[in-house]
Every structure is written in structure tokens, then in C-alpha cells.
């Protein structure tokens, strides 16, 4: 049974259909990539999954529940965590506070919300340090997030997402704007997560996608034009057309 599936989910802004009847299912523990040219509707699709946008029609089922139209904070409590295409962190807070906040949000009870000191939650602090360790930023835990490099900020965002103990990870171009070296690091990080989490990945670097994904969906003008294992996608003529300058919608 898939952990998350969509059934003809559609989002239109006036006459523009940004996401057009997308049906897709992601199995628990798998890495499913979504690729496609710029403006294909990949990020809008993510925004539907995370509640930033409500679908015009269609269903989104997560763990047996229809979650379409649930607000973002509600989605987060179900265990869906996302990274953004443009780095989204808390710049003035320390790295530790950045991940701590993600861990706290997922607590069963928010006891002591307005009174207990933040260091009186030993388990959270432990978890926060562990995820910083995992992305290789533990040494800088006290620095404000605005003081670290862009590449490190992307790693921090990944740490934030992991600290939320997600059941489903949505990664929106985690390697966007990174140098070749930093990209290598990021790819290695994501590869380490594969199998431990259910992941939906938006990525432009085709070689990365082909080597990592269990399944790939290709979006073009809001629709999924192909879906399959990497080898199938590579052979697909329609995909080649979409990527190699074919402008006409399918």
C-alpha cells in the first residue's frame, strides 16, 4: 500500500492549470523523483501536498486519510516535512535552535510551552544535535544561521526537515545553487537517507535522479506525461521531446 497517493489532483489559477489531474502513488520507504522543465508544476504539486495551496479538485491520501485542504501546520503534524527550493531557515537563530524548533513542533504534548526553559528538554536537545551531526554541522551549532555559507544553509534546512521526524520527506531541489563540490556532498546526504525515509524529490540534475530514484514521474505543462523506473524513463520518447525543446503540450 502506498504511503501517499494523489488521485487526479488539479490546481488552477484562473485559466492557467498549473497541476492537471496528477495521479501518483509513492510506496513506503521508496524514493520517488519528480522531474520536468521549469514551470511544469512540480513545486505547485509540492505546495498541494503540504497544504500551502488547496487543490481545485482531486484527492490527496496520506496514510489512508484524505488530507487535501489541510493547513500546512496540520500537515506537518501528520509527519510530512519539506525543504524549499529557496533556502528557508531562521537566519537570526542559532543552528541548534533552528533544528530544536523542528523537533519541538513534533512533540506529543507542548507542556511548559510558555514557561519551561528550552534547555529543560534533554531529549530534544539530543535529537537536535544528532541531526546536526548527521548533516555535518554539529561543530557550528552555536552560530547564527545567517553566518554560515549558502551550501551549509542548504544542509541546515535538510537537518531541520530531519529533526521533524518525518514519515514523508519532500525535497524541492536540495542542490539548487550549490557548487559542484557542495552538490556532491548534498547528493551523498540524500543517498544516505534513501531507504530510511519515504522521499519525494524534485531535482533537475538528471544523472542524480537516474542513479538514485526508485521511480520517476515526469511533469510537463502541469500533467504527468510519463512514470516508471529510471530505465523506462530514459527510453521514453515523450520525455525526450519535453526535455529536448519540444514545446507542444502532449
Amino acid at each position: 500500500m502506498p504511503l501517499v497517493s494523489t488521485d487526479r489532483v488539479t490546481k488552477s489559477f484562473g485559466a492557467l492549470v498549473a497541476v492537471n489531474a496528477v495521479t501518483l502513488a509513492v510506496d513506503e520507504g521508496s524514493l520517488h523523483s519528480v522531474i520536468g522543465p521549469n514551470g511544469a508544476g512540480k513545486t505547485t504539486f509540492f505546495n498541494l501536498l503540504t497544504g500551502q495551496l488547496a487543490p481545485t479538485s482531486g484527492r490527496i491520501v496520506f496514510d489512508g486519510r484524505d488530507i487535501a485542504g489541510t493547513p500546512p501546520h496540520g500537515i506537518a503534524h501528520l509527519g510530512i516535512a519539506r525543504s524549499f527550493q529557496r533556502t528557508s531557515i531562521f537566519p537570526t537563530l542559532s543552528l541548534l535552535d533552528n533544528v530544536w524548533l523542528a523537533a519541538f513542533a513534533r512533540q506529543e504534548s507542548w507542556r511548559g510551552l510558555a514557561w519551561r526553559r528550552t534547555d529543560a528538554y534533554p531529549k530534544l536537545a539530543e535529537r537536535a544535535m544528532a541531526v546536526l551531526e548527521e548533516v555535518g554541522l554539529a561543530g557550528k551549532h552555536g552560530e547564527p544561521a545567517r553566518a554560515i555559507s549558502h551550501g551549509e544553509q542548504r544542509q541546515l534546512e535538510l537537518a531541520i526537515v530531519l529533526a521533524a521526524t518525518p514519515r514523508l520527506l519532500l525535497l524541492d531541489e536540495p542542490a539548487a545553487g550549490l557548487s559542484p563540490d557542495e552538490t556532491k556532498k548534498m547528493v551523498a546526504l540524500v543517498r544516505k537517507l534513501k531507504g530510511r525515509y519515504t522521499i519525494i524529490l524534485i531535482e533537475h540534475k538528471i544523472d542524480v535522479v537516474m542513479s538514485m530514484s526508485d521511480r520517476i514521474s515526469v511533469m510537463h505543462f502541469g500533467s504527468v506525461i510519463a512514470e516508471g523506473v529510471p530505465a523506462e524513463i530514459q527510453r521514453n520518447a515523450e520525455v525526450r521531446r519535453a526535455y529536448l525543446g519540444g514545446i507542444a503540450p502532449p
Binding site: 500551502q52 501546520h73 516535512a81 531557515i89 531562521f90 524548533l101 511548559g112 510558555a114 528538554y121
Partner: protein
């Protein structure tokens, strides 16, 4: 105990020696008012331009009960805190739906609504003349009519308020509010109900403003109409910015600078707001973190230039 707390304790003890008692008392009252605003403006990033709504409502409500029903001090304080919190919940509920300029204008507009209600409702508020004759009952048999006695009571409440506010900003809620200030989208994606958290900041800030309002009414024995007016709302924003918004002690320092300047300089120079204007421009242009940031920058500069220090000591 930290150095900051020692400095504040020293200030509490020494202030009435150097400054007229009523002014010294007003400084700490205004500081409590500023603490409440700072939670909204400094920690949550919400520039509320209507804090006098909560200050004034609490002052009128508690003043009325003190005057006509002779309630005791504790009940008066509780009334003020409750009225401050409830009025802030009402205003906050409407305001957190909007952001940016619209948010600021809404807090301002609602403040004006409360102001004109107080202005028109003369049977209760006394309208333009204010509500005179607010008594200052004794506390557990202790007479607090003497200016110094009332100063001590207010100073104690100020210290308590500062301690409570410190607990709040160092709690998870304080961190969540700061994260909303930094990046609302991210806070929401982590699972925080942003409007509800903002509302919590409003309610807590309103409670502090309400406490300040009652103390103000009992200090002067009158609730003036200005106490619910937009100038008062502006003054507290002003004072907090000068002191340093977003740092715990900023509004305390700001209150000191603002009240002390306005009370002492205004007596000798009628155009003293000009001085405040200059201070404001300097803060906005060079020290966005107010006096607190200027102070910190001075010390890092001193540390980076040990030679100058040696010169100075020679």
C-alpha cells in the same frame, strides 16, 4: 545573578535618590508597558501601533472599580491584567489575519476606535477631562500613599514582570515567536499555527500593558484620555526602539531614556521632542538594535582596539 540583573537592581535602588519619585515610578511603569510591546515588536516582528488600547482600557476599568466600588489593590491589578489580556485578544484576533502595513494600520485604527469610545462615553470615562479621583488603597495594611512607598511597590512589580518576561522569551513559546519573526513560512511548515502563536503574543503583551495601565492610574490618581490615545501607543514604540527592540532589556533602557528626557528636558526646553526625533533618526540609521546594540558594539570595539585603551589609561 547576571551583570544585567545587578545593574537593574542597582538602578531600582538608586533611581529615587536622583530623580523625582513620581518620575522614577513612571519609568518602571513605562518599562512594564514596553516589555509587553517588545514581545510583539521585537520577538514576534509585529509592529503594533495600538498598545495604548490595552493600557488605557485596563486603566479605565480598574480605575472605575477602584473609584466607585473601592476594590482592593490586588483585585485592581488582576482587573487590569485581565482587561489588558482580553482587549488584546479581541484586537489581536482581528489583526493577526493581516500582515505588514495592513497589520500596522489595523492596530492603529482599532486604537482610534477605543479612543473615541472613551472620548464619547463621558458618564464612565469623563471624556476629555479624564477620570479623576482614582484612589490608591493600602496593601495588606501598608499605606502606599507616600511617593517612595508607591515607588517601592511599583519597582517590585517591575522586577517581577521582568523576570516573568524573561521566562517567557526563554521558553519554547519565545523561540517559536522569534522563528515566526524570522521566517513565517518555515515556522508554519514545521507545524506551528502561526496566527494562534501571534495571538498568544498579543494576549501576553496585552496583560503586561494592562498591568502598566492600572499602576499608571494609581500613580497619578487619574486616568487621562491620552492614556488610550495613539500618541501613547507611539511613545512606547519609540521608547522600545531607542532602547533596543528584540532584546529583553531594551525597553527598560528605552523607558528610562524616554521618560527621563521627556520629564526633565521638557521643563527647560519646550521643543524637547526635537531631541527625541534626533535620537530616533540616529537609532534607525546607525543602531537598529538601539542602545543595547550600541553598547555591545562599543565593547567589541574596545576589545578590538586594546592600544586605545592603553592610551586612555596613560
Amino acid at each position: 545573578m547576571s551583570r544585567a540583573w545587578l545593574a537593574i537592581l542597582a538602578a531600582v535602588v538608586l533611581l529615587p535618590i536622583f530623580v523625582r519619585h513620581s518620575i522614577a515610578t513612571e519609568i518602571w511603569i513605562f518599562a512594564i508597558f514596553g516589555l509587553g510591546l517588545n514581545l510583539l515588536m521585537g520577538y514576534t516582528g509585529l509592529l503594533s501601533f495600538g498598545q495604548a488600547t490595552f493600557f488605557g482600557s485596563a486603566a479605565y476599568a480598574a480605575g472605575y472599580l477602584l473609584k466607585y466600588y473601592g476594590i482592593n489593590v490586588f483585585l485592581a491589578l488582576a482587573t487590569g491584567i485581565a482587561v489588558g489580556a482580553v482587549s488584546a485578544a479581541l484586537v489581536g484576533y482581528l489583526c493577526v489575519q493581516r500582515s505588514g502595513l495592513y497589520f500596522i494600520m489595523l492596530t492603529f485604527a482599532l486604537n482610534q476606535m477605543f479612543y473615541f469610545t472613551a472620548y464619547q462615553w463621558t458618564t464612565v470615562t469623563g471624556g476629555e477631562d479624564g477620570m479623576p479621583g482614582v484612589p490608591r488603597p493600602s496593601v495588606l495594611g501598608l499605606d502606599i500613599h507616600a511617593p517612595l512607598a508607591y515607588y517601592a511597590a511599583v519597582a517590585l512589580l517591575f522586577l517581577l514582570s521582568l523576570w516573568v518576561m524573561r521566562r517567557i522569551v526563554e521558553s519554547p513559546l519565545g523561540k517559536i515567536l522569534q522563528s515566526i519573526r524570522d521566517n513565517e513560512l518555515r515556522a508554519e511548515a514545521l507545524g506551528y499555527n502561526v496566527p494562534r502563536m501571534k495571538l498568544a503574543a498579543f494576549v501576553v503583551g496585552g496583560a503586561f500593558s494592562g498591568l502598566a495601565g492600572v499602576l499608571y492610574a494609581m500613580l497619578f490618581g487619574i486616568v487621562p484620555l491620552e492614556s488610550i490615545g495613539f500618541v501613547f501607543s507611539g511613545n512606547v514604540v519609540f521608547a522600545t526602539l531607542i532602547g533596543g527592540s528584540g532584546s529583553l532589556y531594551g525597553p527598560v533602557i528605552g523607558s528610562f531614556v524616554f521618560i527621563w528626557l521627556s520629564e526633565s528636558v521638557s521643563a527647560i526646553w519646550a521643543r524637547w521632542p526635537l531631541l527625541l526625533g534626533v535620537a530616533f533618526v540616529v537609532v534607525v540609521l546607525f543602531f537598529r538594535g538601539g542602545v543595547v546594540e550600541a553598547w555591545a558594539r562599543f565593547w567589541t570595539w574596545r576589545a578590538a582596539h586594546p592600544a586605545t585603551r592603553a592610551d586612555a589609561s596613560r
